[in-house]
């Protein structure tokens, strides 16, 4: 898995490529921690290039979202592929973490 970080005025976007799974937890955690250290108020996790998220990956997303909420910050998910969206929907993730199809909408969500 590879994660590239982009900084926008309204937050940080993590472009994730590969599978978000138990085996790749460390890479994702490190990228999130780095963003957190910068005082990021809105973390947008771009899953457009992620084919598969397993149960450990889902747990990690929820955990990260909860920890950002405690800091009055927000996590959003961007462009999940259909299978990933299906897995997330089954676990009711959209009720915990907002999901967006367009980057502009995700960025605007926190600004609003």
């Amino acid at each position: 898995m590879q994660i590239k970080e982009r900084t926008a005025t309204q937050g940080i976007i993590l472009d994730v490529e590969g599978d978000l799974t138990y085996a790749n937890q460390g890479v994702f955690k490190a990228a999130v921690e780095k963003a957190k250290q910068t005082g990021c108020r809105h973390l947008i996790v771009n899953l457009e290039q992620v084919r598969f998220v397993d149960s450990a990956g889902l747990g990690l997303l929820v955990l990260v979202s909860q920890s950002f909420k405690q800091l009055q910050a927000q996590v959003s998910i961007l462009k999940p592929q259909s299978y990933v969206r299906e897995i997330m929907s089954l676990a009711n993730i959209p009720k915990l973490i907002p999901i967006f199809e367009r980057e502009e909408d995700a960025l605007m969500a926190r600004a609003a």
Binding site: D54, S55, L96
Partner: protein, 421 residues
């Protein structure tokens, strides 16, 4: 053996207070005057010198004393220098020794032959004191490095042996734990009259984190569940065993008064929060009313169950819901439907269909469902076996990346002719 053979000459006794610092050199030379002369020169340089008057004696001394450097004459009766070098290289105890071959000649062809036959360096009998010092020091430096490597190698080998022993103990412990966990799984066959049960379970590691139960709650109700722990390994397995204990029929009846799925999930959600590492469970719970075939079920983020009927395509029994621990105040909702005779209910973990092909494409829920539908004419256990076989064929590997379980229940006919069919 010649009396010279084992007697160190020179100042060995004086230097014995610092034995580790005094290098030992074995001098193998048949000609007494040359041997005495060279021994004296080496002794003056501060080394402990052992002497042997021929190759055979030299090998005996070398095996016993493990000298740091062997200085060997080329020309000797019985066993010449190169033959001695070959014998040393063949000897398991001596093969890494440093060998300095003494010669009166320094023809390139002779040097090449000596090197090929096992010598490390050459020393001319007419060499100056400086050259002898330099070549002996070089030989000893290499010898020290080789011995350090051997010591490190020995330490590594013993560490490896220790690790292997520990690993074997851990594996045995895990196997014992796995056997115990497997013993908690329901026996295949007929848990209650009118119900057939078959299952197949392939943990990704020795100890799995996906577990299931099928049990009589009372004479009219059958309780069913399948749980899936996020993550892998011993920690996940222990958490699963803990949830499994909670889900035992008598425990739930004592706590809640019934095996009502939504109440079971509500209570489990309260007791099993998201861990600090993001670990959690998904759980599907069902209760079958045996006299009528009425199934009540609820899910906490679990991919669900599949109902397979003889007359119609299979259907998923699930709805979107939080896994356990995602929301402490989450409520879960029961769904109900009626089962008929010959209907089959499959509980499964997502590990059965979330298997990638070599190109990375997942087998997926649809293909899994396709096998359930295609195999409905075969026996329950054959249908389950086909799911595993197709999944393995898709990923082209026997072992699954995640725990894989499929549990099948078939209504074979009610105790009093119930189950409308």
């Amino acid at each position: 053996m010649n009396s010279n053979a084992m007697q160190p000459t020179g100042q060995a006794a004086d230097l014995s207070v610092q034995p580790a610092l005094v290098a030992t050199i074995l001098l193998v030379e048949d000609e007494p005057v040359t041997r005495a002369s060279m021994a004296a020169r080496l002794t003056r340089l501060g080394y402990r010198v052992l002497e042997a008057e021929n190759g055979r004696v030299g090998l005996d001394v070398a095996r016993r004393e493990r000298p740091d450097l062997l200085v060997v004459d080329w020309m000797m009766p019985e066993m010449d220098g190169p033959t001695f070098c070959e014998a040393v290289r063949r000897d398991p105890l001596l093969k890494s020794s440093q060998l300095l071959l003494m010669t009166a000649h320094d023809q390139p062809a002779q040097i090449a032959e000596g090197l090929v036959r096992g010598a490390d360096d050459f020393l001319s009998k007419s060499a100056s004191k400086q050259e002898i010092t330099a070549r002996v020091l070089a030989g000893l430096r290499t010898s020290r490095l080789v011995r350090e490597l051997e010591t490190t190698g020995d330490e590594l080998k013993s560490s490896m042996l220790l690790l292997e022993k520990k690993q074997a103990e851990t594996e045995a412990d895990l196997q014992t734990a796995a056997t115990f966990v497997q013993s908690l799984l329901p026996p295949q066959g007929s848990p209650v009259h009118g119900i057939a049960l078959a299952w197949e379970y392939q943990p990704s590691l020795t100890l799995g984190g996906d577990l299931f139960g099928v049990m009589a709650i009372d004479e009219d109700h059958l309780g069913l569940y399948i749980l899936d722990a996020s993550g892998h390994g011993v920690a996940a397995a222990l958490r699963s065993a803990s949830l499994m204990t909670f889900l035992r029929g008598e425990n739930i009846l004592q706590l809640l008064g019934s095996y009502d799925p939504e109440k079971v999930l509500f209570e489990a959600n309260r007791r099993f929060p998201l861990s600090a590492d993001g670990d959690y469970f998904t759980l599907w719970v069902g209760q079958l009313h045996l006299p009528t075939g009425s199934l009540t079920y609820a899910s906490a983020g679990h991919p669900g169950a599949l109902l397979s009927s003889a007359q119609s395509p299979s259907r998923w029994l699930t709805r979107s819901s939080f896994p356990l621990g995602f929301d402490p105040s989450a409520r879960f909702t029961n769904d109900r439907l009626g089962l008929k005779s010959a209907d089959r209910l499959f509980l499964f973990s997502d590990g059965i269909y979330e298997v990638p092909s070599p190109s990375g494409e997942l087998w997926g829920r649809d293909r899994f469902q396709g096998v359930i539908d295609a195999e409905k004419q075969t026996s329950l256990s054959a249908t389950i076996a086909a799911c595993f076989s197709k999944a393995r064929g898709w990923q082209q590997a026997h072992h699954f990346p995640d725990d894989a379980a499929v549990v099948g229940i078939e209504l074979t006919g009610g105790p009093k002719g119930t189950f409308n069919g």
